[in-house]
């Protein structure tokens, strides 16, 4: 399970970093979304990987998993969801105003050069 989780985080991060370095806003937005997924998984792992343990007090529990990272991940999900919405709207507005979805606002004629 450790290998599965860490490789998933690594792949998501690598794909995210590759995408945010692209010149168009759409891949950049996707890259930021992938990075935020990777971060959420990473935060989840900071409480150590535990199977079948409750996060809150239970009379019959043999042990507990750390509840705090789960709360952090919830907060992070809400914030990154909101932020993704914001950047989508901003990117669309920039596309409409500049006539180009290039992050530096270059027009289509310069694309293939």
């Amino acid at each position: 399970m450790e290998f599965l989780l860490s490789s998933a985080i690594g792949l998501l991060t690598a794909a995210g970093v590759y995408l945010i370095l692209r010149a168009r806003t759409y891949p950049v937005v996707l890259g930021l979304a992938l990075l935020s997924y990777a971060t959420n998984l990473f935060l989840f792992a900071t409480g150590r990987l535990v199977l079948d343990r409750p996060p809150v007090i239970l009379a019959l529990a043999n042990g507990y998993t750390d509840p705090l990272p789960q709360a952090l991940v919830l907060t992070a999900i809400v914030i990154s969801f909101g932020m993704t919405a914001v950047i989508v709207v901003m990117a669309l507005r920039s596309y409409l105003e500049n006539g180009s979805d290039h992050v530096d606002g270059e027009t289509h004629s310069e694309d293939r050069s």
């Binding site: 950049v28 932020m83 914001v86 920039s94």
Partner: protein, 509 residues
């Protein structure tokens, strides 16, 4: 428990929805509410200053959950000083904005209040996940303010600004996760206790996390090599917003001061003074690059942006020395550079509005309305920003030079500081003489200013008066800042105030 501490967060948090819902269609009503809120914030900040001025640290446990389990707000001299600066700057900027630029788009005042809530929260919190949340609050408000009024160049710069800050937020979360995974706490005071006890095998993870966090704060503070967002953002943002953003770079500087002295300072064992070897070279390069940018700028707004970068470099040089004397100098320079940076953006905007077609480009063009008045304001602002006597920039620079005398390489710091001052003086001198002096010789005249600008001029006057005030009261002020710096370095006092005095003797942990 003293409830006044949370007022700087709650007041704008209540005011912003009221502005959003009740005063949506009525500009006059929105302005009245907004100004009233800012005046009240200034009053609260002054009251809090009175409260902490005798050196006590006041804490506020939200929901009465005992720290380190609950979130805690901490008001000490440093955080209250920052609150006071924010409130003062916000009031002046708001006066400038209600002179017309708040009408260029919608919801300016609501976003402005949310921005203040985020900034105040970041200064008050004693918990670094909460710090992340307040960072997001201030950032999401700043995204809205940044593109206020719209326009192609502004939205393009806005997208870049949002993207870089989202990357910053991602790094922040990763860093917080790394630190939590080895320290098991998110409370800054609790972290300060646990850092020295971290096992040698976990040190790498802890220090990587702490340095990633430093990188995030450096993005906020626009330090080289992560400064690229600043010139585009500030030069394209509406003037009052750019002026308010002058405090946002200081949020990064504040976080560096707070966390890297408290948790990674003298008592941190293997991780002690973790930030210093990275911060000092970066700050020196930032200073050089910023002031070179001042020399190379083609527009007044650009010049002001690079002046802000240069001043952040200067500020962080002083912080990176990590001594009480250098911190006191840094705090003085922080107060000064916030006011001087903000007023430059406001002046650039007034000049730009009076020169249709030329805007704020540094070109020789015909005379424009109120030329001598704006020239005078720019002259005073430039003296302050470049650090010439007799204004506050000079005193700030002198204090930093004095504090750098006992550092490891005083020759390098002194020569760079003085050389970059020369660059800044040449840059500002060239800009001022082109815009104001040579233009008087040109035939013709730009049309008179379309609107009445009294409030804008009052706002500029207030900020300049702030700089003069910093100079006149430099004596008592530096005494107060010395005490502030000593309180920041007395980390034990902070930890006891937050966690109770049994903790350090190994009581409850």
């Amino acid at each position: 428990m003293n409830h006044w501490i949370i007022a700087p967060i709650v007041l704008p948090a209540i005011m912003a929805p009221i502005l959003l819902m009740a005063a949506r269609h009525d500009v006059v009503l929105a302005r009245i509410f907004s100004i009233a809120s800012s005046v009240a914030l200034l009053g609260i900040a002054l009251a809090l200053t009175m409260m902490v001025s005798d050196g006590i640290i006041v804490t506020y446990a939200l929901g009465n959950w005992i720290p380190p389990f609950g979130i805690v707000l901490v008001a000490d001299r440093l955080s209250v000083l920052m609150l006071l600066l924010t409130a003062g700057l916000a009031l002046a900027v708001l006066l400038f904005a209600i002179d017309g630029s708040d009408r260029q788009g919608r919801h300016f005042h609501a976003l402005f209040q949310f921005q203040l809530m985020g900034i105040n929260g970041a200064f008050l919190t004693g918990d670094f996940f909460n710090l992340f949340v307040f960072f997001e609050v201030l950032l999401i408000a700043s995204y809205g303010l940044m593109v206020h009024g719209g326009g192609a160049a502004r939205t393009r710069a806005g997208v870049q600004y949002v993207a870089i800050n989202l990357v910053g937020s991602t790094l922040f979360l990763i860093a917080v996760g790394m630190i939590y995974s080895v320290a098991g706490t998110l409370n800054m005071a609790d972290l300060a206790i646990r850092v020295p006890k971290i096992a040698a095998g976990d040190q790498a993870l802890l220090q990587t996390g702490a340095l990633l966090l430093l990188l995030v704060f450096c993005i906020k503070a626009a330090l080289v090599p992560v400064h690229f967002w600043l010139p585009g953002t500030y030069a394209n943002a509406p003037a009052p917003v750019a002026a308010l953003f002058a405090i946002m770079t200081k949020v990064g500087a504040y976080c560096v001061i707070r966390l890297y002295i408290l948790a990674f300072g003298a008592d941190a064992g293997a991780a002690s003074w973790l930030a210093a070897p990275w911060l000092l070279p970066a700050a020196l390069v930032t200073l050089t690059l910023g002031m070179t940018g001042v020399l190379a700028a083609r527009r007044l707004g650009q010049l002001a942006s690079f002046a802000v970068i240069g001043s952040m470099g200067m500020l962080l040089v002083a912080i990176a020395l990590f001594t009480p004397a250098s911190l006191s100098a840094a705090l003085y320079y922080l107060l000064h550079s916030t006011l001087a940076g903000a007023v430059l953006f406001l002046i650039a905007d007034l000049v730009s509005r009076r020169r249709p077609g030329q805007d704020d480009a540094l070109t020789v063009a015909p005379r424009f309305a109120q030329l001598s008045l704006l020239a005078g304001a720019f002259f005073i602002a430039a003296i302050a920003a470049t650090g010439m006597p007799p204004l506050s920039g000079f005193i700030g620079k002198l204090l930093i030079l004095d504090a750098a005398r006992d550092s490891a390489n005083p020759v390098l710091i002194w020569s760079l500081l003085l050389l970059t001052s020369l660059l800044a003086i040449i840059g500002f001198g060239r800009a001022g003489s082109t815009l104001f002096w040579k233009s008087t010789g040109e035939p013709g005249h730009f049309p008179a200013a379309p609107e009445n600008n009294t409030l804008s001029l009052v706002a500029i006057g207030l900020l300049l008066a702030g700089s003069v005030g910093l100079t006149l009261f430099a004596g008592p002020l530096t005494a107060y800042l010395d005490a502030t710096a000593e309180q920041v370095f007395a980390t034990r006092q902070y930890i006891e105030a937050v966690l109770g005095n049994t903790v350090l003797e190994g009581g409850i942990l």
